[in-house]
Symmetry: C2
Subunit: 198 residues, 2 copies
């Protein structure tokens, strides 16, 4: 579980949320305002928002930003690249204050979501068994898992899904991969859920 | 250049477009209708659209879907994972008809866009010099290039940018990387262009 995953290396995530609504600015600003980001370094530019800090805080903040918008009922997409151990990464731009527990709650909010994720362990390690085990654990949490081109497809509750994604990221890191990247694409409240989009 | 990049291996892209408008369905359906996808295998599910085929057609189709929406003036985001040579990839789901030249034109449409891309050459190869050379070529085409956490940031004309991205993907493949993944996030017509989003 995430609480056992700590190490001193800085993790991070470059992500974006896309509310498909004329009120997208209000949704994004409202979500960022409601989300407690005090435990991460955070910066938003023209393309993405980047958060950096301990793994559990990086996942907590990205989950909360997405969930704040999704629970409003608007159709929203979420795209994220989680990374740890990139050889070209700087030691700068990291949070240096007091680190507490993940602060964003919302764990009881039920929200169905569809997702695809891909894991790129680029620094060695013995990770295949780890990945299969963690995917099995996602199934035990009620997440539907299926294969897709270039990704693994997930469907189920958003909190269970983020927990599973954090675990597979952590456990891959612990398996010895010195540089791990995980990309995640999510969609909630799509009018075409359970069907084709086009 | 892309025309010299052919090999027999199937490439593909899992991507999504997110028009931030109440009319997102019309934008997406209209774009897919206007785009010539006859040279690729294509499938849309709840999360992404996947196209598979020759590299130049994969880039042509994804560029056109994004550009069709962007040129309407709506704020739109594009997220894509381009992949070739994944060891777990199937030989199935590929286009088997006559392959012609990229069919989607729109090369003269001017559209400014901001982007971040990351390249993951996971199958060896001597690619670092290749990547630096191709990034220099993007600069020569008028694309602004800067560093960001977990990605390289690009800003400029969307057609020049897609050409540059296709070239860097192709040249990395040609450098000997047996499995190459490139992720791309783009944004056009953002109300916060040249500024902060939040």
């Amino acid at each position: 579980m995430s609480q056992q995953c700590g190490n001193s290396r800085i993790a991070g995530c470059s992500f974006s949320v896309h509310p498909m609504s004329d009120e997208f600015v209000e949704h994004i600003k409202g979500s960022l305002k409601e989300t407690d980001t005090s435990n991460v370094w955070i910066d938003t530019d023209e393309v993405t928002t980047t958060v950096r800090g301990e793994i559990e805080h990086v996942f907590d903040v990205t989950r909360a930003v997405y969930l704040q918008i999704a629970r409003s009922g608007v159709h929203v997409a979420f795209n994220a690249t989680y990374s740890i151990g990139c050889p070209g990464d700087s030691e700068g731009d990291q949070y240096t204050g007091d680190i507490g527990d993940p602060a964003n709650g919302l764990r009881d909010v039920k929200q169905n979501t569809n997702a695809k994720f891909s894991l790129y362990p680029m620094g060695g390690g013995d990770y295949m068994d780890v990945i299969y085990r963690e995917i099995d654990r996602m199934k035990e949490k009620g997440i539907e898992v299926s294969a897709a081109h270039y990704a693994t497809k997930l469907s189920g509750d958003v909190n269970a899904m983020f927990e599973g994604l954090e675990d597979v990221f952590c456990e891959t890191e612990k398996s010895g991969s010195s540089h791990t990247v995980m990309t995640v694409t999510m969609s909630a409240n799509s009018p075409s859920e359970k069907g084709k989009r086009s």
